[in-house]
């Protein structure tokens, strides 16, 4: 099963402060362990929300709001995608991460086609497979 591991934003990430060499080295080592164990599928950092936007939807109309989103408490600064056998395995991996005080991480299970059961009709599944095959080629 796959889990998305969401690293929450803090004052520094929102201010665009980049991690120092020591943190980068520790994180690099950790990432290497994840890759060697076959756990890490992807990992990315996000620019501060000041470079982003939000789109809201109402009655077929959209409203665009430019960042930063200072009122939001749940902003994300980056994520990993992990392949593990259980939620507990994801938690165990996360406990070894070189994070200091104040960092908050959220672990969320990713939907797989089989999670949907019969609602996910053969037609929808075929469409999903086709899209995934195409984007797989693009990567």
């Amino acid at each position: 099963m796959r889990f998305m591991v969401l690293v929450k934003a803090d004052k520094n990430s929102e201010a665009g402060v980049l991690p120092d060499a020591k943190i980068l080295a520790a994180m690099g080592k950790y990432n290497e362990e994840l890759v060697k164990a076959g756990v890490m599928l992807a990992g990315e950092g996000l620019h501060a929300s000041s470079k982003g936007a939000r789109v809201r939807f109402a009655d077929g109309k959209t409203t665009v709001i430019d960042g930063p989103f200072t009122e939001a408490k749940e902003l994300i600064a980056g994520f990993w995608m992990w392949q593990v056998k259980s939620k507990q395995e994801a938690i165990d991996w996360l406990k070894r991460a070189p994070f200091g005080g104040g960092t908050e991480i959220e672990i969320r299970q990713v939907f797989e086609p089989e999670d949907f059961g019969a609602e996910f009709t053969p037609e929808l599944r075929e469409q999903e497979d086709r899209i995934r095959a195409e984007i797989g080629r693009k990567r």
């Binding site: 998305m4 969401l6 980049l18 120092d20 060499a21 980068l24 690099g28 990432n31 290497e32 890759v35 076959g38 890490m40 599928l41 992807a42 990992g43 990315e44 950092g45 996000l46 929300s49 470079k51 982003g52 936007a53 939000r54 789109v55 809201r56 939807f57 959209t62 665009v64 408490k73 749940e74 980056g78 995608m81 392949q83 939620k87 994801a90 938690i91 994070f99 200091g100 104040g102 960092t103 908050e104 991480i105 959220e106 672990i107 969320r108 299970q109 990713v110 939907f111 797989e112 999670d115 949907f116 609602e119 929808l124 469409q127 497979d129 899209i131 995934r132 984007i135 797989g136 693009k138």
Partner: protein
């Protein structure tokens, strides 16, 4: 440049374990996904089970503390994401605006950090990360 379109569905923070999206909504969304793919902008996409099935880990004093979901204090949670490759933030906003989202949903657009965005000293310290990313596996799907 790459952007993440983060889907934030209002109320999903309270969804019970095993909550599934509505079949009609999924069908509409699949059409949209296909339009992204046909335009050559789609790199990845996934939906997330509700936070009541997840966990949070905090590192106060460097010590990990695990809290199982749901997260009572959360006002907004992620429901899923798209990773897209476009030429500008405006193009990303344009794509997000075409999403068949409901009035209770918001899409947040965030630019992904590329290695070349970092100053040279940070690039040096993070050398090897690009290689790690290239080595990282792909989802195995049946």
């Amino acid at each position: 440049m790459r952007f993440m379109m983060l889907m934030i569905p209002q109320g999903y923070e309270k969804a019970t374990p095993g909550t599934m999206p509505d079949a009609d909504a999924v069908a509409r969304m699949m059409k949209y996904n296909e339009s992204l793919q046909k335009a050559g902008v789609l790199l990845a996409l996934d939906g997330l089970h509700p936070p009541s099935m997840g966990a949070r880990v905090t590192f106060a004093g460097g010590k990990p503390k695990v809290t199982d979901g749901p997260f009572a204090e959360a006002k907004e949670v992620l429901g899923g994401y798209w990773m897209i490759q476009v030429k500008s933030k405006e193009e990303a906003v344009e794509w997000a605006s075409r999403c068949p989202a409901s009035a209770s949903e918001t899409i947040e657009i965030r630019q992904v950090q590329e290695f070349s965005d970092f100053p040279s000293d940070v690039q040096k310290a993070a050398a090897g990360f690009v290689e790690i990313q290239a080595q990282s596996g792909r989802p195995t799907r049946s």
